[in-house]
Every structure is written in structure tokens, then in C-alpha cells.
């Protein structure tokens, strides 16, 4: 389940970057640039923030998995649900 959440996170970040592309444009940087149209810089900045938030959530999820394994001895979902009974 953790791998699935990480995969969806990477897909959403990739989709955010492709929203700001104009046909035949270059990166929005002026250092030794070749001129011409430039792509939009704002979606790239928001994607940077999203990547860092994904890393923070992944770190907390993994530490909770380590804690569950130490308490129950197994990682099977069917044996871990003891709060419902």
C-alpha cells in the first residue's frame, strides 16, 4: 500500500509539470539562453513543494510500519486488525 501511494504521488508531480509547456519553448533561465519563447515557471515551483511534502509523508509512514512490526510480530493485514473485535 505504501508503494502504491508513492507511485500515485510521482504521477501527480509529473502531470503538474506538463501543464506549463508551450510548443517549442525552452527553460525559463536567462544564463546563456538561446532566446525564443519560455515555458511557465510557476507550475515548476509548486511541484518542488509537492515533492518535499511527499518525502515527509513517506518518512512518517515508514516509521509507523516499523512500530507495527515490532508490536505485532507480523505485517499481515488480517492479523493486525484487533481493534475492531
Amino acid at each position: 500500500m505504501i508503494i502504491g501511494i508513492t507511485l500515485i504521488e510521482s504521477g501527480v508531480n509529473l502531470f503538474l509539470i506538463t501543464l506549463g509547456y508551450r510548443k517549442g519553448s525552452v527553460a525559463p533561465i536567462y544564463t546563456s539562453s538561446s532566446g525564443g519563447i519560455m515555458a511557465l515557471p510557476v507550475p515548476q515551483a509548486l511541484t518542488l513543494t509537492s515533492i518535499v511534502i511527499g518525502v515527509a509523508v513517506l518518512a512518517l509512514m515508514l516509521s509507523l510500519v516499523i512500530h507495527i512490526y515490532r508490536h505485532y510480530g507480523t505485517l499481515d493485514v488480517r492479523h493486525v486488525r484487533r481493534l475492531r473485535e
Partner: protein
Amino acid sequence: MTEMSRIVRTITSIAFPFSMIFGLYIIAHGHLTPGGGFQGGAVVASACAMILVAFGSKWTLKKIKEQQLSVLESVGAICFIALAFFGLIFGIAFFNNFLVGNEFLFGVIPKGLSNINTGGVLPLMNFAVGMKVVAGLFVIVLVMAYATSEYKQNPRGGHK
């Protein structure tokens, strides 16, 4: 976790300075080339994690305590907020770029050539965020490695 063989330790201690200098280059030139604080901080943190994997967690914990890394991260955060408040004191509003215009300290208007004296308050903010990201990511990896290695030595039985 235990340490690896002698060949791995030698090659890691050769490759570690080059990775660290490359990461610091990405942090320092954040206002000219693609990169900046977060990207360069991730590269330097992965170089430090390479040292942790090759030399074992006991040896690494003798060199660096968690207390020092926590202080480093707090210093980075305080520098970032202090630069934002200086924009309120010396300038117009919060987060104002108050160093653009003077010829003395990071204030030259750029023209497309790679002049490192440009950028205003941006290079200082890059260093502050880089320190914060390096300390944060390295503390996460170090705490997880030490906690799981201690479990192998004295396991506590789990319920079934």
C-alpha cells in the same frame, strides 16, 4: 547495522568528497543555473547516507550526535525567518528583496552573463534552506538505522 568489507569502505572514502563538493556547487549557484536549496540539499544528504551505509551505524554515531544535527537544522530555520523579517525592517513589506540595487553585496542587475554578484537576498536564502534540508534528511535516516539495529540484538517478543 554492521559495516561492509574493506574494499567498499576504501572506495566510499574516495568518492565522498567529490559528491559533497558537487552538492555544495548546486546549492551555491542556485540563482544562475537550475538547482537551488532543496535540490542541492538532497544531493548532500544522499552523500552522507552513503557514509552511513558503508561504515555502520555505531561508527557514525560516535562521530556525530543527534543533538548537533538538531541544532544545525534550527539554525537554518532561524536564518531563513530572520532574512524575511529584515525585508520588513529595511524594506517595504514581508519577504521584500532589500538587497537589489546597491553595488556592494549581491545587488547587481544581471544581463544574461553568469555574474555571481547578482540575486539580492536569494543566495543567502539558498544556504539557509540547504542547511535545513541536509540536517533533516540525515537525522531521519540515522534514527531509523539505529533503532532497527538495536532490535536485532535484544528482540522483544510480539503478540500473535
